[in-house]
């Protein structure tokens, strides 16, 4: 058989793995190690990728050591930071695991080239140092068993090996020194100690002859021992100029030791090393698990200088600090995350007496703005985008701070005392202020000329709020401004406001009253937010979206102007009866969607509405002619329940119907926070004291990220700023060099489809969905030819980890308004399920964003369901113990894909198999059927021909269920289903982790033949062929499955087989925590091992394969593996000699 002689070659296309090594080359370049791949970024201008190469094959890069260009004088205590110029080749020693390799960086950072073979050492490498004082530069290598090796770098020849008398395992080590004989090894032992010893000082020295491999010398003695840590030592650093040693430990502390001069004449340093500082500040272990990088101030007696917070849940895996170059006050700090992301920070140091100190200025603590005026400031607003601040006090005084001093603008009479609301707006270049009082009066005036103001009587009772709303017709045209004043009894008065200028009196305002709006009746009947949206349904039409204190979102329509009254049918009959000035009621209401604490803001971007509320949610709203639909709900971080606004990150107004990138502004306990929903981190915090205060956030000019702004707020009766308004330079700037994924493990992956760039079909992106332990679902776009991975959307609705995903394609019905996007977009229904028995359903629309020139994704939430929802609603639940099991959903399969509803089978950890129906239009999830037949944790489920599902249990049995009854009884009230499976086969010794069914039909026979492949915890791969017949005895039809044949490879992997996918008919790809991806083929004579590849995705949990477009069926497919990261592989068929693997135990039943 020729087919059996083919084999499959796998090749990596893209990898996201923890960033385990980082190193700067001067100030100009950053090197990162991600898995075995070394990447070079240039930092000049805007940081960008220069080159990337796999250098360590199956080892992960743990360290990058550039060779010092100039030889130092060993006796010069102060190393001479002679910066090599960038037009020279830089040699690098790259190590990780047992591997070590030399790599050259081409002049001017043009690229990376391999400078030697991959050396495999006998033991794990912890540190490598260039010994420059040797006749020719040698490499000193410290290894995990408390030993050091002297290496000739080019040949990889071991010149000397010296172990310490204390032969214990090290978690970390440092080799310090310029020559082997004088070098000192600092080891962080498994016994929580630091040991210092000299590898070059033992016995005969290093009279090693070329012939001998390595000469065994007498073991060196430990010369210094530093005790104090109560956990193993993860990381070490030595600062030569001050003789300090820093150690980071499992006990979550960093200790700073004075050890004096190590190596050279100093030997092992001072006789009695002292511990200078014990620094506790990390929330988790100093390996960076809390995702924070702390800059400690030496001067501050152990204060944290600055916290650089980044990387989603997985934490930081690597850190590098660049050398401060002469004449520059800043240096780079880079952090690499377990999420595969790389962040770069610029840290400015203050120089005093020409000595540099790592100290971030203290001036960025909060400062008073020195408010002087009558009364207590109640409202604060920023004016003009700069640092001009306007405030209104409880004495009715409006003051402005300009150039550091306050001046009174306007002072209201006694009417404006004890209560005021104020809003400012810029109309035609003039800032206009509106102040409302307790008696329904509103004063509107230009700030430049308060005398040109107008007084309006808006209401009988107090003015609850004022809103300035821009009313625009069309996206580009400049609109007119409206002032909304919410008075008593839910009446919202409206005026259009224009600024005019008169040569005699100067500025004056032209106000025209509009028909008021009427809020729906409720206890707190006042307006909190309003915006206008133009929709294009035939003709352009302005709609008003408002939010009220009750948490409702309301949709209003302007009454038609006389001239536009064309269609009489649309005319509301009621309106003509009550007359033109009767208040307009809402057309549509989403009652109380934002909870009882109310809506805080609504805004519009590209035709999509965004509302925030004090329920901690941002709601993305889609508008129709007269309906308001919530497309998606974004939650901020846990505990951040008071959202105030969304701040958009992209400034372009035009563009597609896709969601804009935004930050959420709100209060998290006592802090004001800007939360990034994609990066899932706080990008700005200011301890302002929490909610119930007026604030203004001023982004620094030219800062696209909005992270460097200033918060102006009222605290304890005075106005404060989160930092000095005068300092225009920012001390710390964050850049994202590479976006991270989930951080913690990825549990499942699913491919949605492929998208090409419009007009350039060679640029293809594969769109994937992943779910992870960090409880998020990510939508990714991967470009296989370049290995680029982009996060398109992050969905954070799950409250526990996401374990399984399913997707069914849908026609791109999406938004009909943008028909031009249809040919280059596609739509999918995605289901995610996981811990706490939670099931979510989304409609994703993937398209191309011409602005960013990248794929983009629009998420519509369809439905969510939890088994224990009833429990969550119980009031006394804190008093009672919840007796139900905390069920997890382990696996999911689509049983039936109907137009109205999709049926899903879920494997549950409480031993049940459950069937749910999810209706897209009805937005409902219903439990149809459940069976506790298995009595074990059900691990996997798959469906076939829309009739049967297979449940698999921890016992290793596979059960086949006939669900025809369930599907047929849909119309009935009670769901009928089988109580026992129609076939149960023991396949594995323990859990069945993976299950796939090939949906091919036999052509010769009328019966269906199912090919079912399973992968078990025992590492076994099994393939079964099952014949399914319909038995038409009696009146009922019953399914009669027959096991035809059964092949297996008992030890397909040396670890549990955790994931399995069908490559093509009779070919499978399997993945396992042994980090191999294997391809198997079923032939007539058994299962054959077709090929394998080592993957850098540890803890492989999910795998997915699909045919490559344009490739022939036999060959080209993509396989994506997820686990601790993600790797995309490409398969190719080649001819090779036949390798038969695995025994065949065919059996007839």
């Amino acid at each position: 058989m020729t087919s059996a002689e083919s084999c499959t070659v796998l090749e990596s296309c893209a990898l996201v793995a923890p960033v385990t090594a980082l190193e700067f080359l001067r100030d100009d370049y950053l090197l990162t190690g991600e898995g075995p791949i070394l990447t070079l970024f240039s930092l000049e201008g805007s940081p960008r990728l220069r080159a990337s190469q796999n250098v360590l094959q199956n080892f992960r890069i743990h360290g990058i050591r550039p060779k010092p260009q100039t030889r130092h004088d060993a006796h010069d205590a102060k190393p001479n930071p002679d910066q090599p110029t960038s037009d020279e080749i830089t040699e690098l020693a790259i190590f990780g695991g047992k591997g070590l390799r030399l790599i050259n960086v081409s002049p001017c950072g043009r690229g990376l080239e391999v400078a030697g073979p991959l050396m495999e050492l006998q033991d794990w490498v912890l540190d490598v140092s260039w010994l420059m004082d040797e006749p020719c530069p040698l490499l000193g290598v410290s290894i995990a068993h408390n030993a050091a090796i002297l290496l000739e770098p080019q040949s990889g020849k071991v010149l000397s090996l010296c172990s310490c008398a204390e032969a214990c395992l090290l978690y970390s080590a440092l080799l310090i020194g310029q020559s082997w004989e004088e070098s000192v090894l600092v080891g962080g032992t498994v016994f929580n100690q630091l040991v210092l010893w000299r590898p070059g000082r033992t016995g005969t020295g290093r009279q090693c002859q070329a012939g001998t491999q390595a000469c065994a010398l007498t073991d060196a003695q430990v010369e210094r021992r530093l005790l104090g840590h109560s956990g193993v030592i993860f990381s070490l650093f030595y600062l030569q100029s001050s003789g300090w040693l820093a150690s980071a430990s499992d006990d979550r502390s960093v200790r700073l030791w004075h050890v004096g001069e190590l190596s050279g004449s100093g030997g092992c340093g001072v006789e009695v090393p002292t511990c200078l500082r014990v620094l506790y500040g990390h929330q988790a272990r100093v390996a960076g698990e809390d995702g924070a990088c702390l800059l400690w101030e030496w001067e501050g007696e152990g204060r944290v200088g600055r916290t650089l917070k980044s990387h989603r849940s997985g934490g930081i895996r690597s850190l590098a600090v660049s050398n401060a170059s002469v004449g520059k006050r800043s240096r780079w700090v880079a952090t690499g995350g377990a999420d595969g992301g790389v962040r770069l920070w610029k840290v400015v140091e203050q120089s005093t007496n020409s000595e540099l100190k790592v100290e971030v200025e203290k001036e960025d603590s909060q400062m008073y703005l020195g408010f002087e005026g009558i009364g207590c400031p109640k409202v604060v607003r920023s004016v003009g985008g700069g640092h001009t601040v306007v405030t209104c006090t409880d004495q009715g005084q409006v003051s402005m701070r300009q150039d550091g001093s306050w001046k009174e603008i306007w002072h209201g009479g006694p009417d404006f005392q004890s209560y005021c609301v104020m809003e400012v707006v810029c109309i035609q270049g003039v800032w206009v202020c509106a102040v409302g009082n307790l008696n329904g009066g509103v004063q509107v005036f230009p700030l430049r000329q308060p005398g040109g103001g107008t007084f309006l009587q808006a209401s009988e009772g107090k003015i609850h709020s004022l809103q300035w709303v821009e009313r625009r017709i069309g996206a580009c045209s400049r609109g007119s401004w409206c002032l909304l004043a919410s008075g008593s009894e839910g009446l919202v008065q409206r005026w259009t406001v224009e600024v005019a200028e008169n040569e005699e009196t100067g500025l004056f305002l032209v106000l025209r009253k509009m028909t008021p709006f009427l809020l729906p009746p409720c206890a707190k009947q006042w307006l909190t937010a309003a915006v206008t949206v133009t929709i294009h349904s035939g003709k352009k039409k302005v709609l008003w979206v408002c939010g009220d204190r009750r948490g409702s979102l309301l949709l209003y329509k302007d009454e038609k102007e006389k001239s536009q009254r064309e269609s009489v049918q649309e005319e509301d009959t009621q309106e003509s009866v009550v007359g033109i000035n009767a208040p307009i009621p809402a057309v549509a209401t989403l009652f109380g969607v934002h909870g009882k604490q109310g809506v805080t803001s609504v805004c519009e971007r590209r035709g999509v509405c965004y509302s925030t509320g004090r329920d901690g949610c941002v709601r993305v709203l889609a508008l129709n002619k007269d309906s308001l639909n919530v497309r998606r709900v974004h939650h901020a971080c846990k505990g951040m329940d008071w959202l105030e606004k969304v701040l958009f990150l992209d400034y372009s107004e035009k563009g597609t119907f896709f969601e804009a990138r935004f930050l959420m502004a709100g209060f998290h306990s006592v802090e004001f926070v800007l939360w990034d929903p994609i990066r899932q981190e706080k990008v700005f915090t200011a301890a302002c004291g929490g909610g119930h205060r007026s604030w203004a956030y001023i982004p620094s000019s030219g800062d696209q990220t909005l992270e460097q702004g200033t918060l102006i707020f009222i605290k304890q009766g005075t106005i404060m700023a989160s930092r000095s308004l005068a300092s225009s330079t920012t001390e710390i700037r964050g850049h994202t060099l590479r976006e991270g994924l989930h951080g913690r493990g990825l549990a499942c992956v699913c491919r949605l489809g492929e998208l090409s760039k419009p007009g350039d079909s060679s640029e293809k992106w594969e769109v994937l969905v992943t779910g992870g332990e960090d409880t998020t679902v990510n939508v990714l776009a991967v470009r296989p030819d370049q290995g680029t991975v982009k996060v398109l959307a992050v969905i954070a609705d799950h409250i526990s980890n996401v374990r399984t995903l399913a997707a069914v394609p849908r026609g791109a019905k999406g938004d009909e308004t943008n028909g031009r996007c249809r040919d280059m977009s596609f739509s999918t229904l995605v289901f995610s399920a996981g811990g706490r028995a939670q099931l979510q359903c989304y409609r994703l629309l993937i398209g191309w964003d011409e602005q960013t020139n990248l794929p983009t994704c629009q998420v519509t939430q369809i439905a969510g369901h939890r088994l224990d929802e009833k429990w969550e609603r119980r009031r006394n639940r804190h008093k009672t113990v919840k007796m139900d099991p905390e069920t997890r959903y382990m696996s999911m399969a689509v049983v039936q894909d109907g137009v109205e509803e999709v049926l899903l089978a879920l494997a549950c950890s409480d031993g049940a198999v459950r069937i749910f129906s999810v209706g897209e239009d009805s937005r409902k999830v219903e439990l149809l059927w459940e069976s506790f037949y298995h009595q074990r944790c059900v691990l996997s489920v798959a469906s076939y021909s829309l009739e049967d599902i297979y449940g698999k249990t921890v016992n290793g049995a596979v059960a086949l269920w006939d669900l025809t009854a369930v599907l047929d009884s849909k119309s009935g009230d009670s769901w009928l289903g089988p109580s026992v499976p129609c076939l149960s086969v023991p396949v594995h010794q323990s859990g069945v982790n993976a299950l796939v069914i090939s949906k091919q039909r036999h052509q010769q026979t009328p019966d269906d033949i199912i090919t079912m492949a399973t992968g078990g915890d025992d590492g076994q791969l099994s393939v079964m062929k099952i014949k399914v017949e319909m038995n038409q005895s009696d009146q009922t039809e019953s399914l009669c499955p027959q096991l035809l044949s059964h092949w297996s490879v008992p030890l397909a992997h040396s670890a549990p087989l955790t994931a399995l996918t069908t490559l093509s008919s009779a070919r499978w790809a399997s993945a396992s925590p042994d980090q191999r991806v294997c391809v198997w083929r079923l032939c007539d004579d058994g299962l054959h091992h077709q090929g394998a590849m080592f993957t850098h995705t540890a803890d492989a949990a999910g795998v997915w394969a699909w045919q490559r477009e344009g490739a022939n069926i036999q060959g080209g497919a993509y396989v994506v593996v997820c686990g601790q990261g993600l790797q995309l592989l490409k398969t190719k068929e080649i001819e090779r000699r036949k390798v038969v693997f695995g025994d065949r135990n065919k059996q007839k039943m």
Binding site: G281, G956, S1054, P1073, F1094
Partner: protein, 322 residues
């Protein structure tokens, strides 16, 4: 969630508390014994990396029986102190030291052990390759001390991570034991990469001299017998053990298992003794960690000598992730 949620997620955790085991891992050894009859005829047993002591508890209960059998000798070795157990001699020592091996033999009055068990796991870093390597080194260290104390024909049971280089460990163990099996007790979660190697019939290569001064170094991949990616790999048989009707460690059970018995929350049998994170957790709980405006309350008296010149230069802070 609450304190009972772990009882629901993990049935063996709950059972361990009910039956008075110090850790749920006790069930793993019991189930391994069910399959392999490990305790048959054993009178001298060693528990390496014993803390918190659940395996020593199993050895004590199973080997000594009810009428404390004086012929049975059990030695538990760990670096950390552990709460005492009846009939178990504790050695607080390092398993990489020859002195520890000698002390074990001394307790056995010069005789070798019949069974060595090791359920030790290292302090994990979260980086898979590092953790698997250190676990492998721990297993090799346990194997090394076992070669000093185990009698020929004796058995050795140790925890193993079924990770990327597990076949290298298998090949090493097969040098010393005629039968090596990878076993997974049903009480060990399906989702964890943990498994146990049951090495039976200790038969070291002829002329092998146990040597503690050099650590046993791990094997490497080669072309013929143990390939990195190819079909030739050393894989030992896999056996799932434990009664099929036993509880399922992956299943979530309701709190009320049995309608006749009311659920009652039980505290853990033996809380951890001085974990490394103790001080950090204490500071964190009491809001004493260093922040941007305050130093952490220095808890240590080791800071007496702080008279360093604070104007030290700090300009060459080149760093790496070490």
């Amino acid at each position: 969630m609450g304190r009972s949620s772990k009882d629901k997620r993990d049935i063996y955790y709950r059972l361990a508390k009910e039956e008075g085991w110090r850790a749920r891992s006790a069930f793993k050894l019991l189930q391994l014994d069910e399959e392999f009859n490990l305790f048959k005829g054993v009178s001298r047993a060693v528990d390496l990396c014993a803390a918190p002591g659940s395996w020593s508890q199993v050895l004590s209960r199973k080997l000594r029986g009810k009428e404390s059998n004086e012929d049975v000798k059990i030695v538990a070795v760990d670096l950390q102190a552990m709460a005492p157990l009846p009939g178990v001699t504790q050695i607080q020592g390092d398993i990489t030291k020859i002195s520890t091996a000698q002390e074990i033999i001394r307790h056995f009055e010069g005789q070798s052990a019949d069974l060595v068990v090791c359920d030790g796991a290292p302090d994990v870093t979260g980086l898979h390759d590092v953790d698997e390597y250190i676990q492998a080194q721990l297993l090799l260290a346990a194997l090394n001390i076992t070669t000093h104390v185990l009698k020929p024909g004796g058995n050795f049971v140790a925890k193993i991570f079924r990770g990327k280089d597990v076949t290298l460990l298998y090949s090493q163990l097969k040098i010393f034991f005629s039968s090596v099996t990878c076993a997974k007790p049903r009480s060990s979660r399906n989702s964890s990469i943990e498994a146990f190697v049951v090495c039976q019939n200790y038969s070291p290569p002829e002329g092998y001299v146990p040597n503690m001064s050099n650590p046993l170094l791990d094997h490497s991949y080669d072309v013929d017998f143990n390939q990195l990616e190819g079909p030739n790999r050393i894989i030992v048989p896999f056996l799932a053990c434990g009664d099929l009707s036993a509880f399922d460690s992956d299943r979530t059970y309701p709190l009320q298992l049995d309608s006749s018995k009311e659920y009652q929350y039980l505290p853990p049998t033996q809380p951890p003794i001085r974990p490394p994170y103790q001080k950090a957790c204490h500071l964190r709980r009491n809001n004493l960690l260093a922040k941007e405006d305050s130093a952490s309350v220095l808890p240590d008296d080791a800071l007496s000598a702080m008279s360093l010149d604070s104007k030290q230069e700090t300009d060459t802070a080149a760093s790496g992730s070490r």
